[in-house]
Amino acid sequence: MNIQRSLLRRLPKGRHFVIGVPFLWLFMFFLLPFVIVMKISFAEADVAIPPYTEVYAWAENKLSIIINLGNYIFLTEDALYLAAYLGSLKTAFFSTLLCLLIGFPMAYAIARADKAKQMVFLLLIMMPTWTAILIRVYAWMGILSNNGLLNSVLQGIGLISEPLQILNTNVAVYIGIVYSYLPFMVLPLFANLVKHDPSLLEAAADLGSSRYNSFWKITVPLAKNGIIAGCMLVFIPVVGEFVIPELLGGPETLMIGKVLWQEFFNNRDWPVASALAVVMLAILIVPIILFNRNQAKELEGRP
């Protein structure tokens, strides 16, 4: 009886502790910061430390709140920002599509390989995700530059006479993004494909379904959760990508992550940078919720 009572008393405490600590941490350092970004997006830039004006003031028993929509209006007035948002969305969309087209066959092949090989392939796919994106992008700088390896090889075998300008164009940005984000597409797809029951495909084949037909009617619908997870893991971070467009892109590359970085670090305009972040978040909130729902299903093992 005694042990039981102390157990019961301890249980809720332990439970609150285990839930409370990560909850508080994430609330403090993940959720609350967004509120502050929101607040500062309504402030005005100022020559001060920190470089913005206060949104609310308390003086002579009056609480005054000044909501300055100027930053948002400014974003609509300058065509640069709209172009950057559209550029980011376009780049993210096409690179997600490319990743899916390359990644799906790869994940499919790994899922069909025998168990011992699977481990090695997975390790090979996973390793680059642990390596600095910076270094992998840097490796491409050396390959794609005008006097780089690719141009030397192409000229060496006589395919081209003049070096191709690839570095600092959008082509280089696409190569860099697909290269860096491909593992994030392959891993969730594999995790999904490996769970499929091969007897379903056999049954379909027995009933006269072609492999093409079975693939589209059985494998793809079953892989839906994996496809969503993979696409979101690529699409959402790419919209805000900074390193790749900065290092591989050129003046024609307009992406919002780069613009935000410049507003913040070069112009030191914190309120405009905050407004840019708020708008970006508003665009991404639907994909993020979609991803979270999908992850919640996966985390709890629901179908």
Binding site: I3, Q4, L8, R10, G14, I19, P22, F23, W25, L26, F29, F30, L31, I36, V37, I40, P50, P105, M106, Y108, A109, R112, L124, I125, M127, W130, T131, A132, L134, I135, Y138, A139, W140, G142, I143, L149, S152, L182, P183, V186, M232, I236, P237, V239, G240, V243, W261, F264, F265, A273, S274, A277, M280, P287, I288, F291, N292, Q295, A296, L299
Partner: protein
């Protein structure tokens, strides 16, 4: 299955696409010529030159320090979050909690970085802490996003666990924390190690978050590399990059090796237990774990 199907071809082509650039980078780091595009024979001089670069070495030490702290904190925090997500099925704000745990995985780094910096600035104004930005603030930023990765890795393992072992321990009167530390933790140890290594690597790699939340005098290795890379390809950077690649592949191999060995051991033990067929004694009533009082009543 055909030997050379389309998907197999794509797998090999994809792996070549992933690994060739890194291989080329490593080879060129041994290039004796200062001109990065001209091959001037093999040489180690860029590696030796690194040792004299004190600024770089300082940033390496700082990055390693932050990565260590991050790995420890992210494993603790991520494991708790994973435990809550897989074992505590119902409490107020569970959906919000799930969202908070997984959202950092996809949130663009520029947004997280900017928002954390603004939080730190606001806090410094309001309560005077953190007085200056540096290792501490970078650690907080890294821990927040690494614990999401740990939570995903650990929760997938927690879900596979056989609950009956924990239930058996509870039935025999072990307190929940004792069950957790003596039974659950050893069983999920490989994924804890994997999560820790992953956090270490992610923290060591991060450029964007660190750039936002670091203060003067606390430049990390990626920040140092980035400012050099912006000016173009340089042989010294080739050497640094190769060393980082080497360190990360080594760490990855270690994780894989230990996970693999643990898995083999587990399979062997399972096989043994099955052979002895004493498993029935471990069986407990359905779902007694959530309400120990009923079992003892």
């Amino acid at each position: 299955m055909k030997r050379f199907s389309f998907s197999n071809f794509m797998l090999w082509a994809g792996l070549a696409f992933i690994y060739l650039p890194m291989l080329i980078l490593v080879i060129y780091s041994f290039n004796a010529s200062r001109l990065v595009t001209v091959w001037g024979g093999w040489s180690l001089k860029w590696y030796i030159g690194l040792l004299d670069n004190t600024q770089l070495m300082n940033s390496v030490m700082r990055s390693l320090e932050i990565a260590c702290y991050t790995a420890i904190a992210a494993v603790a925090l991520g494991t708790m979050a994973a435990f809550v997500l897989t074992r505590v099925t119902r409490f107020k704000g569970r959906t919000l909690f799930g969202g908070l745990v997984t959202a950092p995985l996809v949130m663009p780094e520029v947004i997280t970085g900017l928002s954390l910096l603004l939080l730190f600035v606001a806090m410094a104004q309001l309560i005077g802490w953190p007085a200056e930005r540096g290792i501490l603030t970078i650690w907080i930023a890294h821990t927040t996003f690494c614990s999401a990765y740990v939570a995903v890795v650990v929760s997938s393992r927690l879900r596979e666990l056989d609950l009956s072992i924990e239930e058996a321990a509870m039935d025999l009167g072990a307190k929940p924390w004792k069950v957790f530390f003596l039974i659950t933790i050893p069983m999920i140890a490989p994924s804890l190690a994997a999560g820790g290594m992953m956090s270490f690597a992610l923290s060591l790699d991060d450029l964007v978050l660190a750039s936002f939340v670091s203060g003067p005098g606390s430049t990390t290795l990626p920040m140092e590399v980035f400012s050099a890379v912006r000016l173009g390809v340089k042989p010294e950077i080739n050497a640094v990059a190769s060393l980082i690649l080497l360190a990360v592949s080594f760490a990855t191999f270690l994780v894989w090796f230990f996970a693999h060995r643990a898995e083999e051991k587990r399979k062997k033990a399972l096989q043994q237990a099955m052979d002895e067929s004493t498993g029935a004694a471990l069986m407990a009533g359905p779902d007694s774990r959530r309400d120990p009082s009923q079992v003892h009543a």
